[in-house]
Amino acid sequence: MKNSLGYIVGYSCLLTVVCGVVLALAAVGLKDKQDANIALEKKQNILLAAGIKAKDKVEAVATYEKQVVSYVINAEGKKIEGKKVEDVAIADEYKKPEKERLLPVYEITNAQDKSKIESVVVPVYGFGLWNNISGFVSLQADMNTIKGAKFDHVGETPGLGARIASEEIQNRYIGKKLFDGDKLMSVVMQKGEGIKYDSPYQVDGMSGATITGKGLNNMLTNYFGLYSKYLKAKKS
């Protein structure tokens, strides 16, 4: 009887339903907590991109509250009133046509004087070899020189493409420049590794991760392009 077709089908169905219900309940029950973790990580990454290392979560939140002024702009570089950065999901915006995307901006102000802007952090989003890659790039007050970068990935190969999440790779971007005069150059990771590039628009590559590197380049060119009107206006 235990091995009859009816019993097997019934057993499988019941097992599926029970497992499904338990997992659905867990997913719904834990969602708030997980979302809070993700939001906190985002704040920490924005600060890290701007070169601010908070010693713990509490300090990170406090520094963020104190020093970060955020708003949303459109592709024309115009501020959209009434829209909060928290409501903009960069992964969803990435799917829209470029002209319609909402673009968050995070201004890092001076710890003492809130009217003084130290750097501007912009998010970047793209596709690596296996899955999406993302990050934050901070620009100095000249809106041209990179102050810091923080990249993350979903599924790049550990030890190869996944190195974009390491400080070693991210530090290579510090001091590089986006514009030559008014022309957007972006910063391009080269093929091969271990070469020192004097050009402010080139960085050393990652050996064995050429395609992730290309994804990184496309992501930066794409997003610097989207923000270029805003950055140029901000500079002058």
Binding site: N3, Y11, L15, A27, Q34
Partner: protein, 220 residues
């Protein structure tokens, strides 16, 4: 293991922590270790042992999954149709693994990022399925639960040993605390220890030490 020393729970036939049941917990820690003797679960032992902290969470995670999968399969064993038993086992294991993954994401976010895909891959850890087939399908729930905990801990012990060696010599720290710097020695981390190859060597040495001590040898 404080819980073993606690007063015995009353059971009609056999005490919950009888000699036989305690053996279920302690055997996999040494003489019948799933990693060094049965050589199971090597893949994740190489992958998550760069630092001690993720290794500890992984050990706890695998113990949780083996224990509860064993318990549930043992409770269900008389109802499971033998023709689909592997699929049923997989479904139960997956259920616990996904729950664990969700819990990590909610309560140990940093660690869940470090363990990344390896939490999900507990599903494919041979120790879990191995214990279900070899033990839980033929034994009562309570001994099965203990067997799961024992084997999870046996795996965890090796994981922590490997992570100890790798973190100490790879990054010169333990739980992120810079040990060599603290005693005033400048230490250049050994890059090999950071790579899976380094873990492979450490696991190999552990297997050698343990087998030499216990006089265990593979049957010809």
């Amino acid at each position: 293991m404080a819980e073993v020393l606690e007063p015995k729970v009353k059971a009609p036939s056999e005490p919950a922590f009888s000699k036989k049941n305690i053996k279920l917990l302690t055997d996999p820690l040494d003489g019948n270790n799933p990693v060094t003797v049965q050589v199971l679960g090597i893949c994740s032992a190489l992958a998550v042992t760069v630092q001690l902290e993720p290794a500890l969470y992984m050990a706890a995670g695998v113990t949780f999954v083996t224990a509860f999968s064993n318990l549930f399969i043992s409770m269900l064993k008389d109802t499971i149709p033998s023709r689909i038993r592997i699929i049923v086992q997989l479904a139960i294991v997956s259920l616990w693994v996904i729950l664990l993954d969700q819990l990590f994401k909610a309560y140990a976010f940093e660690v869940s990022k470090k363990l990344s895909v390896f939490v999900g891959l507990i599903i494919t850890n041979c120790i879990v399925m191995g214990r279900l087939e070899a033990y839980a399908m033929a034994n009562k729930p309570w001994p099965s639960f203990l067997d799961g905990i024992g084997n999870g801990l046996g795996y965890g012990v090796i994981l922590v040993c490997v992570a100890f060696v790798r973190e100490l010599f790879g990054s010169g720290s333990l739980f992120g605390f810079k040990v060599f710097e603290a005693v005033g020695i400048t230490y250049q981390g050994n890059g090999l220890m950071m790579l899976p190859a380094g873990a492979c060597i450490v696991v190999g040495i552990l297997i050698w030490i343990q087998r030499a001590r216990n006089g265990y040898s593979e049957e010809a």
